[in-house]
Symmetry: C2
Subunit: 223 residues, 2 copies
DNA sequence: AACATGGTTTAGAGACGACTAAATCATAGG
DNA sequence: CCTATGATTTAGTCGTCTCTAAACCATGTT
């Protein structure tokens, strides 16, 4: 049995470690709201349990076992989010916080019932993939909307934000997973971009908002 | 903010304290699966927080504040049970354990969404009343089916058991909340009773099972 | 190559909640 | 009335997770 605290760390590491597969002490500590010292101590214990490999001063990497367990926690979290929006009608800008509390308390049985009644949803309301029970995760190649220039565009894959205000704003503009978006005006160095979402009127958005939107560029439009 | 452990104690005290409004250290400790020493220590802290009155060696009594908070935890628990059976199709014999884990993790918002989609259910699947948000609880006068003799009968109000095997057995016999039941053969001292449930064929049941069934005797049949 | 800076780790200590063993109390029986 | 018995409380520890303060390391700058 793995403690609830350790589960929190596991999920945090999973979400923090980027393509380099390395999560630093500070980044994990910040995400969990604990001191770096606490995270460092926990990393030692997790390494002893075989959940991570720990290179001192450089950060941790999930082992196969750790990664599998992390995906299952994330699966619970994202299924819970999907459930909260689809079945209970709770706004997508609030479900992340609520699901945080639920992800530890959901027995396997309930998680799988969620999956069943949701028709085996593939993504959470923010667009992130829901890992399968065996730990597989669908990957998509994306670019931040902030990195696209005039003429660029594609389909919104996910929105990486947890600030409710930002999420609500983006939703009001139609910037939700699945939407087609195109940059009408946007010089590479500019502070704002004018974008068009689906059939809507064009809107001007600042970089802060654009950075949160991950876009999958269509195959035939790739450089 | 009140700790999750304290919430567990609060709910346990609420369920243990009988009509005398007193919960003993041992009874609470047994229900929570902790030592009496641990419960004793916790009672001191809860008394300091104003949740209970504590008479040493005699047990605790919920204060108004403690009682209100306890009812809200029980509300979450019973709404979760109702949700698990009605919306997810999980068997009534297993939902108690599952809801135990969920009762701390359900934010107000989710609890009230449950209540809404469940049409403000009045009782949990086992028949216990679901407290209102203001802490009111509907009371019913009941007698254990084991205490009724030949000719007695009424409506099953609730089933006070958490052993899945017992619950499954009772359900198979039709002994679920709302069912009309009558004692066909049952001397006051006997080990078994022959009972008839609704329109079914009569069955003989042992005291162990009968004791779990709380029956509301019809007004005109009261002694 | 030496150093300044910022992130990371160790040291020391505290809150919480659990346990066992020993002491204490309440109460029923003689 | 006194004592035996069982329940309850106190005393002393332990494990987990957290913190701050101080020592340490990796890196980029001069």
């Amino acid at each position: 049995m793995i403690s609830q605290t350790m589960e929190d760390y596991l999920a945090a590491i999973y979400r923090v470690e980027g393509p380099t597969h390395r999560a630093t002490t500070g980044a994990v500590a910040r995400r969990l709201g604990v001191s770096a010292a606490s995270a460092s101590a926990m990393f030692h214990k997790m390494a002893d349990s075989g959940l991570v490999r720990y290179r001192e001063y450089l950060g941790v990497t999930l082992t196969a076992s750790g990664r599998l367990q992390a995906t299952q926690i994330v699966r619970r979290h994202r299924l819970a989010e999907r459930f909260l929006t689809d079945m209970l009608g709770i706004g997508w800008e609030r479900v992340d916080k609520v699901a945080d509390q639920m992800e530890h308390a959901l027995p396997e049985e309930v998680t799988e019932s969620f999956a069943r009644v949701l028709g085996d949803a593939a993504r959470c309301p923010h667009g992130y993939p829901i890992p399968s029970t065996s730990g597989e995760v669908a990957v998509r190649e994306t670019v931040s909307l902030a990195e696209l220039a005039t003429g660029g565009g594609g389909q919104v894959a996910w929105v990486s934000e947890d600030d409710p205000v930002v999420l609500a704003t983006l939703a009001r503009r139609g910037l939700v997973p699945g939407a087609e978006v195109h940059v009408l005006v946007g010089a590479p160095g500019a502070k704002r971009r004018v974008v068009q979402v689906e059939g809507r009127a064009a809107v001007s958005l600042q970089m802060g908002l654009l950075q949160a939107v991950a876009v999958e560029v269509a195959m035939d439009a790739r450089p």
